[in-house]
Amino acid sequence: MRILKALIKKEFLQVGRDPATIFMTLLLPLVLMFIFGYGVNLDVGSFKIGVVVEGDEPQAVSLLAAFRNSKYFEVESGRDVRQFQDEITASRLKGLIVVPADFSRCLLSGQKATILLVTDGSDGNTATLVRAYALMALLNWRQGLLAERGLPAFQPITLESRSWYNPALISSHYLLPGSISVILTITGVILTALVIAKEWERGTMESLMATPAGIYQIITAKLFTYFVLAIISMLLCWAITIFWYGVPFRGSFPVFMGIGSLFLITALGQGLLISTLTKNQFLAAELALISGFLPSFLLSGVIFEITSMPEVLQAITRLVPARYFVDALKTVFLTGNVWPIFLHSSANLAILGLAFFLITARKTDKTLA
């Protein structure tokens, strides 16, 4: 106990001296929260499109007005396709609608009237949205046209949709809770892997082991210190999410802390395993980045939905601790206390954490070799 106390005191002294550690535990969460809160915005705004109207009959003009009135479009109009060519290529316009010169004539003579929609296929998501919105605007306009002529308007079925737990579909409401797992991965995996590898590299591990301090005490002191730092980061993220961004928190705080701690222990285990295997700061940083940070970003469901991934990738995500934490985080913030989800997450985190520590214990000799 005396030894553990001495080692923990040393850890905190070092943390206090090291601006990089303070940056990574306190400032980096702020920066990342800012990026996730404002920078990564998956909400749909309005798209800038071009509308070329080749004739000036009233039908064509009113169609143009219909596009102008759509809240999804900002319209630039013109008379010739060529004047928009460059802007489409440069992606300044997300779509181009061409109303041909014979549009009104065809429409009035009862022939099939055609308009052209050009979208940028290199950005598939946007292209799909633009097509859907354009179609919607077109249908609305046709309804109006039929009514004007006194023809019986075809009554479409209306779909009343409601999004539970995030009624306004604000992306920051599900991004921010998820991002807590990314931020904690940084402290838990990367920082921990680095600081332990540093002890090996600097030869201080060897010196300490030659004193009455054993390797388990040295590691326990390290993990304890970084656990405390990560908990501080976690509380910081929690507060920012709720009080700055106004994300609701519908679950219980003890559950959040409990599952958060469990995730942290798992992350620390992963960081410890990496440093034990490499004993080298550079390699440890690379491995932590590839096996910790990137999966927590890409394979955890924070940004990309796991169920829409190919099956092989879905299988891999089962090994990513962040995935289970993200599930629990979204639930505890947006839904409330859903015990089956919490239990599922906790059980999986516990299994992964145990695995990390067991492998580490097998790879750690009490001696140096």
């Binding site: 005396r2 030894i3 106390k5 001495a6 080692l7 005191k9 040393k10 002294l13 070092q14 001296r17 090291d18 600097r202 030869g203 201080t204 060897e206 010196s207 300490l208 082991m209 030659a210 004193t211 009455p212 301090a213 001696t367 140096l368 070799a369």
Partner: protein
């Protein structure tokens, strides 16, 4: 206490995973309480492994170790409780202060708070770190770090002190001071195990364990080892310039001579067992043998009498031309001056030595001379080509061997040679001929297909030298080429270097070994970026001469001249 020796190592063998040869091979060693034991051997001979085994950080594959009656396998904690171990990197936390480091180790050792004040005061006075208590360990000089490392392991007044190469990377002044402290500790009854690759340190120990390739080559008092070479060491005085080299090279081919080297204006030879000094040449005087002579004798003596490299190289014209020139070289990094106003000239076929403590500016000077960094002011020329205006031509005359092994670990020896040949602009038949030549003269045939990374240190250094000379440069820059290698490999290197110099190759070299400085025609002593003294080895020794120092060795001269420059006695 327990019966028998304080430390008893019996039949100890340790093999590392993936290693073909055992790191330690059936070792039997005994050490008594209060002895200062020199654990001596080149890099990779097993010194560190033995220390880690002694303190219980590794466990033996075969054999047993007992320290003060405790078995290292079962009672490692008890051994650790009575021992202090300072690993090569001192084991300090650079972001903690001197006092915080000491407090950490005191906490770990369980030193009571009440005892601390007195013990710390004693240690801080002993290590002369009193004034630096609140300085971060990372801001201390190498010598001071080493003293702090020592203070930290001494806190709990151990019975056994294990120091792993405490003198590596530390200048002779700090080395001497550390030695003084250790001698004092040994007088108080402490058993000290001092690991080193400097053979001259072995002579000062009460007992020596000489390790070579994991085997115990010798163990006993240093005097006994020296007795092997008693009356076999002779010097010939009064030789000058390149004649010394030519004479030595001639002597090494003689049947009666085991080993020989240049010592300033003298030549020293060690005769084979039962042989007297070489006939003729002049008056050979008997000299006290050095421990290195004993080591070389134990290893069976150097195997080569002649450098196959030099034999196959074309002669450079013997015109006495200035080949390397530096004028007012200065390099500043921010407001730190690494090198200040350094000027020198080297004639064709001369060996020029840059000497100085770590961080004095030797490597920076070297890099400026190779055109690797641009001087803040001043200029340098290689074979008449300014490195500033004609760098490519200047460098084409240059062969450079960097301090750290700078070849490609993942390429085979053959691929490394071909690559460097290509880099020097040798292609096709010429390239093949040169690569074959290097293979032959450096005896690389058994290694041609092995990756360079897994070679033993001595072979790596050979390969590095091969890569530096394969384009037959006029000038050879060698940055600590022999650091860490065994004495036989060092002899081999100097044989090449001397022969190359005779052939007219100009050599600039840095070294930590004072006896190697003796080979140089001219030495510049660099301290804190300034050239504080220069001249031939004998001239430097003469400069350092004083009433208290009548016959200074090279090391004495080095320490004295630096001390004086520190006091601004030398301008």
């Amino acid at each position: 206490m327990s019966e028998g020796p304080f430390i008893n190592v019996a039949g100890l063998t340790k093999v590392f995973k993936g290693g073909t040869k055992p790191a330690l091979d059936n070792l039997d060693v005994k050490m008594e309480r209060g002895q200062t034991v020199g654990l001596v051997g080149p890099d990779g001979s097993g010194k560190t492994t033995l220390m880690r085994l002694l303190i219980g950080l590794l466990s033996p594959d075969r054999g047993t170790i007992t320290v003060s009656g405790f078995d290292s396998r079962k009672q490692a904690a008890k051994i650790q409780a009575i021992s202090g171990y300072m690993p090569q990197k001192f084991g300090l936390y650079e972001d903690l202060t001197v006092l915080e480091n000491m407090n950490l180790y005191a906490d770990l050792r369980g030193t009571a708070k009440s005892e601390r004040a007195a013990r710390f005061a004693e240690l801080l006075a002993f290590t002369d770190l009193d004034r630096f208590q609140d300085r971060l360990a990372g801001r201390l000089s190498g010598g001071m770090k080493q003293k702090l490392g020592l203070a930290c392991v001494l806190i709990a007044t151990p019975d056994l002190l294990l120091l792993d190469e405490p003198s590596v990377g530390v200048d002779p002044i700090s080395r001497r001071e550390l030695w003084r402290m250790v001698t004092q500790l040994a007088r108080d009854g402490l058993t000290v195990v001092w690991g080193t690759s400097y053979l001259d340190e072995a002579e000062k120990c009460s007992r020596v364990i000489l390790l070579h390739q994991g085997r115990n080559l010798y163990s006993g008092p240093p005097e006994e080892a020296l007795a092997r070479v008693k009356d076999r060491s002779f010097v010939l005085r009064g030789l000058t310039g390149s004649r010394r080299r030519e004479t030595l090279m001639g002597l090494l081919r003689e049947g009666s001579v085991m080993d020989g080297l240049v010592q300033g204006g003298e030549i020293k030879v060690v005769a084979k067992r039962g042989q007297g000094p070489p006939a003729g040449l002049g008056n050979w005087e008997k000299q006290k043998p050095a421990f290195e002579d004993a080591f070389i004798d134990l290893l069976g003596g150097p195997t080569m009498g002649e450098s196959a490299l030099a034999k196959r190289m074309a002669d450079k014209p013997n015109d006495g031309a200035l080949v390397v020139e530096a004028s007012g070289l200065t390099k500043r990094f921010g407001d730190f001056t690494a090198v200040e106003d350094n000027s020198f000239q080297i004639k064709r076929g001369q060996i020029f030595g840059l000497l100085g403590p770590n961080g004095a500016g030797k490597s920076t000077t070297f890099k400026m001379m190779c055109g690797l960094i641009r001087p803040t002011s001043g200029e340098a020329w290689i074979a008449g080509n300014s490195l500033a205006s004609r760098p490519t031509q200047a460098r084409s005359h240059l062969g450079y061997m960097a301090q750290k092994f700078s070849l490609y670990d993942q390429l085979s020896v053959e691929q490394n040679l071909s690559f460097f040949a290509g880099a020097y602009g040798l292609f096709g038949a010429v390239q093949k001929e040169r690569v074959d030549l290097m293979e032959e003269v450096f005896d690389l045939t058994p290694y041609m297909r092995s990756n360079a990374g897994i070679l033993p240190l001595g072979i790596k250094q050979r390969l590095a030298l091969a890569c530096a000379v394969m384009h037959q440069p006029d000038v050879l820059f060698l940055d600590e080429p022999t650091s860490g290698v065994d004495p036989l490999t060092r002899r081999e290197f100097w044989l090449h270097i001397n022969h190359l110099a005779i052939k007219g190759v100009t050599v600039m070299i840095t070294t930590h070994f004072m006896e190697e400085a003796e080979y140089c025609d001219f030495i510049a002593l660099i301290f804190r970026g300034r050239n504080v003294a220069s001249g031939s080895p004998d001239e430097l020794k003469a400069m350092a001469k004083s009433e208290t120092l009548e016959d200074p060795t090279m090391e004495d001269a080095f320490i004295e001249l630096i001390r004086r420059s520190d006091l601004h006695l030398v301008t």
